[in-house]
Structure formats: structure tokens, C-alpha cells
């Protein structure tokens, strides 16, 4: 018997996402009895001030002069240049910090960035353990209004551009502004991706069912993301560091109760790569890399672990 009559136009649940709850599913286990898998994904998105007609733009974005999140008026380059900081300086600072810490790292690149800045692609390829595809540009997203064919072409173009510019194979996707349609996981699977990272969904990898069966949603929690915590929420960098440390402590404790956990760190060159904030990355990675219960791996490696 059902009491609720859903409106016919409503899509009540995300397609292909099995409903599952902690305490009501088999616990996840990691090799060697580790309790927490941690992956680090660095974002190197390119922001395009002039977007071609027909491209879908986000309605709100972080970055710019102050608290404004609507699109800047044409002629204000604050957001363009703040995001570009990630490509000139920020991503390299974070890559150096990860290298010093000895942690593996994935970098997400987009089509416009690698097309306009070949040295971004080649220098990232020389440093990153995994390359992830980040769509066309920071502000040219997948979203409602795109036909399935248009979306497939968007995914293919981005994948092909990033692979060609870096000379690397790719298995992971992270759409700009976490933009998707109902078809995205299915299309990503059909285009050969093994995992995607946009869903802040769970504390362990989630394999999809139905048409998208086989692709893994590897969660990147909003709270652990620098852009969300430092800009959207407006935490101080010290509070953000405290939040990360508290989260790590809690996940390690929870692993004893509900099985191994995953934490997907998601950091932007233009955010945590800023000189004011970078020490947070340094201290958090140093703590994690020496922790006996932590397995540090690339997101692709975590997605490929036995489920």
C-alpha cells in the first residue's frame, strides 16, 4: 500500500542509485585492516570570461571581489583572474605540498584549460599520479536543457582533449560545479569512465545499478572541500582545518562501528593553493600520511578497491 501519490513530473530518486544505509549493509573493508581510505583530488579548472552561445553556465559561483556569487558584469575580471590563480600558482603549490608529504595525487583538468594552456597539461601530467576529466570549463557545465547526444559529445570532447594534451589515460570524471543530468552516470559509463566524483553522497564507494551498472560514485563531501567550506560557508582557514581533523578522527572511530570509510579530499588550486591557506593542506596531509590506519591512494585506486 502506498499513501503518497507522487506528482507525475517528479523524479523521486536518483536513477541507478541503490538505496543503502549504514548498519543495514555489509561493512566495507580495506586491505591490511586499514580503517580509512583517503584520496586527494586537486582541481585545475579554467574559467572562461566569454562563453560561447548555447553553453550552459552556472547561475551562481564562488570567487570574485567579495560575497557576490552571481555572474560578474562583463568587464569585471575578478572572478576570471581569481580562478586563473589556481593555474598559474595555486595548483603548483598544492602539488609541491603533496609531493613533500609523499601522498599520491589526482588532478582534474578541463578541455578549455588544456587547449589554451598546453604547458598546464604537460606540467600536471609530469606531476600527477592520476588525471581526471573536469568537463569543458569551470563555467561551462552539464545541466538541464542538454540533449543526451549533446551531453555525450560534451563528455567525449572533454575526455579526448584531456587525454591528448596529457598523453595519459583517464578513468575518472568530476563535472564543473558538480553539474549533471539524470543521464550523466549512464553516459559516463558508456564512454568508458570507471568513476565520477561529483556526488557528496557516502563514506564509501558506491556502485551504481541499472543502466549505469559498474560505474562507481566516489564521494567528495562538501564539508571537506575547500571552496565550499572557505567560500560558500565562509569558515576561517583555522576552522576549516579543525573541521578536517575532527572529521578524520570521527571517521576512524566510526570505521569500528560501520566498516571502513573513505574521505575524498577535494581542493582547488585557486582556493587552498592561496598562500594564506596552503598551510592547512600541508598539516592535514602530514597527519594523514603517517597515520597507521589510513590508506592513502588516488581516487581511481579507491574506486577500484573491492566493494
Amino acid at each position: 500500500m502506498t499513501i503518497i501519490q507522487n506528482p507525475p513530473e517528479a523524479v523521486v530518486f536518483a536513477p541507478g542509485l541503490p538505496l543503502a544505509y549504514d548498519g543495514h549493509r555489509d561493512p566495507w573493508a580495506l586491505p591490511d585492516g586499514k580503517k580509512l581510505a583517503v584520496s586527494l583530488l586537486l582541481h585545475a579548472p579554467s574559467y572562461q570570461d566569454d562563453v560561447p552561445r548555447g553553453a550552459i553556465k552556472p547561475l551562481m559561483m564562488q570567487g570574485g571581489v567579495g560575497r557576490e556569487t552571481s555572474e560578474p558584469r562583463h568587464g569585471q575580471v575578478a572572478r576570471l583572474s581569481q580562478w586563473d590563480f589556481g593555474l598559474t600558482v595555486g595548483i603548483w603549490r598544492l602539488l609541491a605540498i603533496a609531493k613533500d608529504a609523499g601522498t599520491p595525487v589526482a588532478v582534474a583538468l578541463d578541455q578549455e584549460g588544456v587547449g589554451r594552456m598546453p604547458r598546464l597539461a604537460s606540467e600536471v601530467a609530469a606531476r600527477a599520479d592520476e588525471i581526471v576529466v573536469r568537463g569543458r570549463a569551470a563555467n561551462m557545465i552539464i545541466g538541464a536543457g542538454m540533449s543526451r547526444d549533446e551531453e555525450r559529445q560534451y563528455i567525449r570532447d572533454a575526455r579526448d582533449a584531456v587525454m591528448a594534451a596529457t598523453g595519459r589515460s583517464v578513468a575518472g570524471w568530476f563535472g564543473p560545479e558538480r553539474g549533471q543530468t539524470s543521464d550523466t552516470p549512464l553516459l559516463l559509463r558508456e564512454e568508458g569512465f570507471a568513476w565520477f566524483g561529483e556526488w557528496p553522497l557516502d563514506e564509501r564507494p558506491v556502485e551504481l545499478s541499472d543502466g549505469a551498472s559498474g560505474i562507481v560514485a566516489l564521494s567528495h563531501p562538501l564539508e571537506a572541500e575547500d571552496m565550499f567550506s572557505l567560500y560558500t560557508r565562509g569558515l576561517s582557514f583555522l576552522d576549516y582545518e579543525r573541521l578536517l581533523n575532527d572529521s578524520i578522527d570521527q571517521l576512524l572511530a566510526d570505521a569500528e562501528v560501520v566498516g571502513a570509510r573513505h574521505l575524498g579530499l577535494s581542493w582547488f588550486g585557486w582556493v587552498l593553493g592561496q598562500a594564506s591557506f596552503a598551510a592547512v593542506a600541508e598539516r592535514v596531509l602530514a597527519r594523514l600520511v603517517h597515520h597507521p590506519d589510513v590508506l592513502f591512494a588516488t581516487p581511481g585506486q579507491v574506486a577500484a578497491l573491492p566493494r
Binding site: Q82, D84, T88, Q274, A275, A278
Partner: protein
């Protein structure tokens, strides 16, 4: 000559592959203090509400900013003098003509005037090219008339506004640096239609009292912590990779000039004076040094990677 879109102004090269930048006397981090001394029209052109709070005149808004010039500026000046901080005023140029007391106090201290437009409620968005050319002509005339015959070398657009012609018109009027671009920790070449040299000057919305304290909710203590955290890191990274860098501390008399902020401003200035590796200087001095010693090599290196957009 064809239009240069904003993304195409940027000359890309990652920090990690660039030719080295150095500053005079072995200093490694140049810091410029940019007080934004602004004028806001009582009723702005078009009569628009300054903050969307009440219709113009918005006396809360107007008087708050006017207080910055009547009391806050002079309080800040006492800290500037105590720590001998060279300053680059981001100036509503109307101040030169209409507030001679402030103008003369800045000139007496050899502050550099960077244009911040004529008046801060008169952005230059969508200005037709000829009108924008006149805007720059008037700007230079104001400086040469009222500021010891000096010309203006840099711009931070009024309310951070600009057009697709701004960079090209700046160099037409003898300017060399544009502070609207915050994409780097070093000055960087910006493409212009004529090929005349123009560079970005790293301004800051991070070390800036308006975004930090006024638009968001952070405290004066946090501003100080941000300054120290940023510059400490820059010093460390410069020691490590040999790349000299730039930081900007941006203030506004109506925020940082408030009485409760003075001790934090003094803490920032004391910090800037605590390390000999810091070159506390003016934006024009940084621009001159970069243009004289590093511009050509940095540009050539970026273009050599055959990634220049044509």
C-alpha cells in the same frame, strides 16, 4: 586592430617553469599597501540605490564612507607614519580636486596615486570606447593638475569595473599596470592591441578589509592572521624556489579606519616591518622594476612554449 577578449589578455606560464624574478637588495616579497580613498556620490548618476537597501540618497551608506575620509583616513595616517609605510592610494580621483586636505597629506608622504576611477559609484562598464578614452584623459589631467604634475601609472577600476577596451586605452594614456587582475603572485604581461607593455599588479581580495570584514563576517584579528599566513608562506616559497613575489594589503578608511580596527592595522604594519626580506614599497616601484628587469624574459619564455594565443 581586433578585440582582445579577457582570457586572451593572459600570458600563461606556470610559476614552476618561469625565469626567475628578483627584487632589489635581495628582498624576496614585495608588499604594497593600497588604501582605497574613495568618494561616493550622494545621489549617483541614474539615481540607483548604492546597496539596494534604500533608494538614493542612502545616507547610511554615504555617511559611513564620508566618515572614512573625515576621521578614518587621518587615524590610519597616524599608523602609516608610525611605521613609515609607503602607500599606493587607490583613489577616487574626485578627491584630488574636491578634498585638497587629503590630497596634500598624500602628496606630502609621496604616496603614489593609482586611479580608482573618478567616483566609486560611477563604474565604467559598457562605456563606449570614445567615452572611456575621455575618462582616461580626464584622469591624467586631474593628476597632472593637482598632484605635483605627476601622471598616473596604474588603475584599479572603479568598483572593479572595466570594458574590453580598458587595457588598450590604459597604455594609450601612458599607464603600465592594471590591478584588476589577481591571477598571480608576480606581475605578469597583459596583451594589448598595440603591443605596448602592460602588466598586472597583484591586488588582493584576500588581504582586503572590505571583502574580509565588511562583506563577510571576519574579525580584525583574522585580517592580521591572514596577512601573516600569506606573507609567511610567500617568504618561505621564495626562499625555496628563488621566485620573488608580491603581496598587497588593501584597506579602506571607512573599514580599517574605524577606531576598533586601529590596533589591527598597527599589528599588520609592525609585521611588515619585522622581516628584512619584505620590500615594503609602492605598486609603481614594483612595476618599474619588473618592466626593467623581468618583463622581456618572462614574456619570451611564455611565448616560447608555443602556447601564445594569436
Amino acid at each position: 586592430m581586433s578585440l582582445i577578449l579577457n582570457n586572451e589578455r593572459l600570458v600563461y606560464e606556470p610559476m614552476v617553469t618561469r625565469p626567475q624574478v628578483t627584487w632589489p637588495e635581495g628582498r624576496t616579497v614585495a608588499v604594497w599597501h593600497a588604501p582605497n580613498v574613495e568618494h561616493y556620490d550622494f545621489v549617483p548618476p541614474g539615481g540607483a540605490s548604492p546597496q539596494g537597501r534604500v533608494a538614493a540618497p542612502d545616507v547610511q551608506h554615504y555617511m559611513h564612507r564620508a566618515a572614512g575620509n573625515r576621521t578614518g583616513f587621518w587615524r590610519m595616517l597616524r599608523a602609516v607614519d608610525a611605521y613609515d609605510i609607503p602607500s599606493t592610494v587607490s583613489l577616487s580621483l574626485a578627491v584630488l580636486e574636491e578634498m585638497p586636505e587629503i590630497r596634500d597629506a598624500m602628496l606630502a608622504r609621496d604616496w603614489e596615486v593609482m586611479s580608482h576611477g573618478i567616483s566609486n559609484l560611477r563604474p565604467i562598464y559598457d562605456l563606449p570606447e570614445e567615452e572611456e578614452r575621455e575618462f582616461f584623459a580626464v584622469s591624467q589631467r586631474l593628476a597632472r593638475t593637482y598632484y605635483g604634475g605627476r601622471s598616473i601609472r596604474g588603475l584599479l577600476g572603479p568598483k572593479i569595473s572595466g570594458t574590453d577596451n580598458t587595457c588598450d586605452l590604459m597604455v594609450e594614456h601612458g599607464m603600465t599596470y592594471h590591478a584588476d587582475w589577481i591571477h598571480d603572485e608576480q606581475p605578469r604581461p597583459l596583451r594589448t592591441r598595440s603591443g605596448a607593455r602592460l602588466i598586472s599588479m597583484p591586488y588582493s581580495y584576500m588581504l582586503n578589509d572590505v571583502p574580509l570584514l565588511h562583506a563577510k563576517h571576519y574579525s580584525g584579528e583574522y585580517f592580521v592572521a591572514m596577512v601573516k599566513s600569506q606573507i609567511d608562506r610567500l617568504l618561505r616559497d621564495a626562499d625555496r624556489d628563488g621566485q620573488a613575489r608580491v603581496a598587497c594589503v588593501a584597506t579602506h578608511p571607512f573599514v580599517m579606519g574605524q577606531p576598533g580596527m586601529q590596533k589591527h592595522l598597527e599589528a599588520i604594519f609592525a609585521y611588515l616591518r619585522s622581516d628584512d626580506r619584505i620590500w615594503v614599497t609602492r605598486a609603481g616601484d614594483i612595476a618599474d622594476h619588473y618592466l626593467d628587469h623581468h618583463y622581456e624574459r618572462q614574456l619570451a619564455s611564455a611565448l616560447a612554449a608555443s602556447e601564445a594565443l594569436t
